[in-house]
């Protein structure tokens, strides 16, 4: 198939950036979206021009490295699909395709389509773990967990940290990402001890990174390639309130 691409080119965070237009004449419908970009890039390199920078690694929809806005949609038009798992058969012969990076204050552009998502790592660092040192664990079957709870925790744990939720949100909020981790651990018995500190610290870090607040647009859920549900945000908000109340109580009890 033949396609016309309008790709965002930006040399660095300081550069203004603009779209650049390219035509590709022989794209296979079975190619993935990123293989199509490889094809474009190979051509550019062979002409001595700099290829389009973009992050990617697993190309299986699991590492969360890839991410770009395709025709206005984070990860492109197909629901529950990362950019690397999108295939060219989703597009028609002669289509024009617009490709942009994630746009959010907390995700500065590095180059072209690659952005800096290290804010996510810092949110996890603020409390997205269970404090258990290696070697101190009891037998794994000592704590039984109802299958339903384990399954729900797993639903939340499938978040790949791609950042599409932020890119899709009008407020550039990362509440879907944060709530997924808070809920994954908060659902499980192992995560109870630190449950309220965790939510308080992670939300504080989220805000400190410059992500916006959640005003229930729901765009994040629609864009999320892993089907992370808005309900996790509601759950996190309840935990957060409890955490604040608990903190006030301990302070006043002192």
């Amino acid at each position: 198939m033949k396609i016309t691409l309008h790709v965002w080119r930006q040399k660095s965070a300081k550069d203004r950036g603009d779209f650049e237009t390219h035509r590709l004449d022989d794209v296979s419908a079975d190619s993935s979206f990123l293989e199509m970009l490889d094809q474009l890039n190979d051509g550019l390199v062979e002409q001595g021009r700099e290829p389009v920078a973009f992050d990617h690694d697993c190309r299986e929809g699991i590492c969360g490295a890839c991410g770009m806005v395709i025709n206005g949609y984070a990860h492109g038009p197909r629901a529950l699909t990362t950019a690397c798992q999108l295939h060219m058969r989703e597009f028609g012969d002669g289509d024009e395709i617009w490709i942009e990076p994630w746009r959010a204050k907390a995700f500065p552009v590095i180059k072209d389509l690659a952005v800096d998502r290290s804010a996510f790592d810092r949110i996890i660092g603020a409390g997205g773990y269970v404090s258990v040192n290696t070697g101190s664990a009891p037998d794994a079957n000592e704590i039984a967990i109802p299958k339903k709870i384990a399954d729900q925790a797993m639903d939340a744990a499938t978040c790949i940290g791609c950042g599409a939720c932020v890119a899709a949100c009008p407020n550039a909020s990362a509440m879907l990402f944060t709530s997924a981790k808070v809920s994954h651990l908060g659902m499980l018995p192992q995560g109870q001890v630190e449950r309220f500190d965790r939510v308080r610290n992670m939300v504080a870090q989220h805000d400190a990174e410059g992500f916006g607040g959640c005003t229930n647009h729901g765009e994040c859920e629609a864009a999320c390639p892993k089907g992370i549900s808005l309900e996790w945000i509601a759950r996190m908000n309840r935990d957060f309130l409890k955490a604040m109340v608990a903190e006030r109580d301990t302070v006043s009890a002192r």
Binding site: S28, Q85, S118, D121, G135, A137, D139
Partner: protein, 646 residues
């Protein structure tokens, strides 16, 4: 050079425990004086970095992705083995040990494997405590499945995303240490050279992938956990960035490289669709628990709609050839059998380059037996992934699969303490050669990476520093040391060279061609003539690379073409070593099948008399024949037999 395994003698059951007792300890106050560099933060490196930091060492960790959470380990689907015997189906540490040695076609070190089986149990405890949401039964206890040729159910899993969940557990532990200031994390940073000073590994030279800055980092020991070299084949199930550079650079600095020809070709991957293919996608092996593998009996049927081919015209070749194990035979056997039927012209699926390379993996019986919902419950996400890639619905029409390069059993040689032949350089996870012999069993790589990182290196590193710490601390290595200057100079020269060639072809172009040579001549089946051809073709390709490579842009910003070029340059060297090793090994063992060495029925034939050794190669220069060193393998517990899965 004499290769000593340093494995403790005496009864195997207590070997690790005795060794732990015999090893030196570093007292808590002294740990703070030591800095450890951990290159790679996948399961092996991430678990090591977190644990060493918990113990009180200063840790500096490195990965080339933008976050440790994205290491290739994240892609592991099927599960992790552990000898918990929670199912009471006859499993034990001894059985896991035995299965692993046998599955590896008797080419691994018994004592390492025994320790691995022992530690497997603790890994599950640790992961569960971290909140890894393993699959559970209705009673709330952990669920297991049987996996990849095992006759017991010992595989723990988290849907089809076990690697993801284990890595997140490990990444979270690491993040906690980063936040606490105990680990200095350098993401988007690639190690390009090892610094060896006074005979010890003391530092690394890195390149910041965003700014291009060449930097040095120093420590009292260096740990490499940089994954496997399967991408030497270009097309593989490995992540696009997986590369051999760190291990290869250590090899060039004196670390012996063991068994490079042992590569695992995974039987259940989605077939190649065309020439722009960039990587191959694995369909978890767990699918073979319920799917039945077949091809048409007659070539004429190969283009037909599979649903219209009557039962009597189908050849369920694995069930036919291996009635005891059927569709669950080990990976190497399943892969080779698929190649055989396709070579006979009975492959299925669309033609690519005039050939049909695919076999069916059919769920019709399973759906009839269990119902579509139960099948969806077990494999839903895999089926979805398959449909997304191929546009075919596997609930309705059989999946098509074909083998693809998946894992490398070879790697840097290490002793029982996971130390390479360079003192102070330790190697963990897929990057070392250790525990899988000539073939790795399913769900055993995650186990090995985590055993190495959580439970072995914390002890053996302490032992090294306990013995040599004083001497190391007394010998300062810094930017002004001659060894550092030479290493930095080498890196700068390499980068400059790659940027200055000014040719016409992209790094991918050369990588693809190398991959084709490797796949054709050093792939699922190898022979002398083909390997000798490859030994001519690879150096030629290398020459062309250095005369016609195009790398636009500069060395001081985010230049992905340059990064790719540095990696391909090293693949062009390691590929040659893989071929040499394959040529040397005049037997068939596990993933290494030499056509000259097979039984009349076409099964692999080992040569225990002459090849029960680890082939560890010493680098003598590019294009120069390396020196072979042998570590003889002793088998005291497992009886060497011809593997039979009939």
């Amino acid at each position: 050079m004499e290769l000593r395994s340093n494995a403790p003698e005496g009864p195997i059951e207590t070997a690790w425990e005795r060794h732990r007792f015999d090893m030196k300890l570093v007292n808590p106050a002294n740990k703070r004086k030591f800095t450890v560099l951990v290159v790679g933060t996948g399961l092996a490196g991430g678990s090591a970095a977190a644990t060493l930091a918990e113990l009180g060492y200063n840790v500096k960790a490195f990965c080339f992705q933008d976050s440790p959470r994205r290491a290739h380990s994240i892609a592991a689907q099927g599960g992790i083995n552990a000898a918990k015997n929670y199912q009471g189906d006859g499993d034990s540490i001894y059985r896991l040990f035995y299965d692993t040695v046998k599955g590896g076609d008797f080419r691994s070190r018994e004592r390492n494997v025994y320790r691995l089986a022992q530690l497997s149990v603790e890994i599950i405890d640790q992961a569960a405590a971290q909140g890894v949401p393993f699959a559970r039964e209705y009673g709330g206890l952990l669920a297991n499945r049987s996996f990849g040729g095992a006759q017991v159910s010992r595989t723990f899993y988290a849907r089809g995303q076990t690697g993801q969940q284990l890595l997140l557990g490990c990444y979270q532990a690491l993040s906690r240490q980063i936040d606490a200031g105990n680990v200095e994390m350098h993401a988007r940073t690639e190690m390009l050279e090892l610094i060896v000073d006074n005979g010890r590994a003391r530092g690394i030279v890195t390149r910041d992938l965003l700014t291009g800055k060449i930097d040095t980092h120093f420590g009292d020991a260096v740990i490499l956990a940089t994954g496997g070299y399967g991408n030497a084949y270009f097309l593989s199930t490995n992540a696009m960035g997986s590369n051999a550079t760190a291990a290869w650079r250590a090899h060039r600095k004196g670390a012996l490289f063991a068994n490079p020809c042992y590569t695992q070709i995974h039987p259940t991957c989605i077939p190649v669709h065309g020439t722009h293919q960039s990587k191959l996608t694995l369909m978890s092996e767990s699918l073979r628990n319920d799917g039945r593998v077949w091809v048409p009996k007659k070539k004429e049927d190969c283009g037909k709609d599979p649903r219209k081919i009557p039962e009597s015209d189908r050849d369920y070749y694995l069930e036919r050839k291996y009635p005891a194990f059927g569709n669950l035979v080990p990976r190497d056997i399943a892969s080779r059998s698929a190649k055989e039927v396709c070579d006979e012209g009975r492959g299925v699926g669309p033609e690519v380059d005039g050939r049909r390379l695919g076999v069916y993996l059919d769920f019709a019986d399973a759906i009839e037996r269990l119902g579509e919902d139960a099948v969806r419950d077990r494999y839903g996400n895999l089926f979805e992934m398959y449909e997304r890639i191929t546009d075919e619905n596997p609930y309705k029409t059989p999946m098509r699969i074909y083998p693809a390069v998946h894992y490398t059993m070879g790697g840097l040689w290490v002793d029982y303490n996971l130390q390479s032949t360079i003192p102070g350089l330790f190697v963990l996870g897929e990057a070392n050669f250790s525990d899988h012999g000539a073939n790795r069993l399913g769900a055993s790589a995650l186990m090995q990476g985590l055993a190495d990182g959580y439970f072995v290196i914390p002890y053996t590193l302490g032992n090294y520093l306990g013995h040599h710490g004083r001497e190391i601390l007394a010998n300062t290595v810094d930017a002004s040391s001659a060894s550092t200057k030479a290493a930095v100079g080498d890196v700068e020269a390499r980068i400059e060279k790659l940027l200055g060639i000014g040719g016409k072809k992209s790094p991918d172009h050369f990588h693809r061609r190398l991959g084709q040579i490797m796949w054709d001549k050093c792939g699922m089946a190898r022979n002398k003539a083909g390997l000798e051809e490859a030994l001519v073709e690879i150096p030629k390709l290398r020459e062309e690379f250095y005369s016609n490579l195009a790398v636009p842009g500069s060395g001081d910003d985010f230049n992905q073409t340059l990064v790719k070029a540095t990696r391909v340059a090293d693949f062009l060297e390691i590929g040659e070593l893989m071929v040499r090793d394959a040529l040397n090994r005049e037997e068939s063992a596990g993933g290494h099948f030499r056509e000259e060495h097979q039984t009349p029925e076409g099964e692999a034939r080992r040569d225990d008399e002459n090849f029960t050794y680890v082939a560890a190669w010493e680098f003598n220069g590019v294009g120069v024949e390396p020196t072979l060193h042998k570590e003889q393998l002793e088998f005291e517990y497992v009886k060497l037999t011809q593997r039979s899965y009939k």
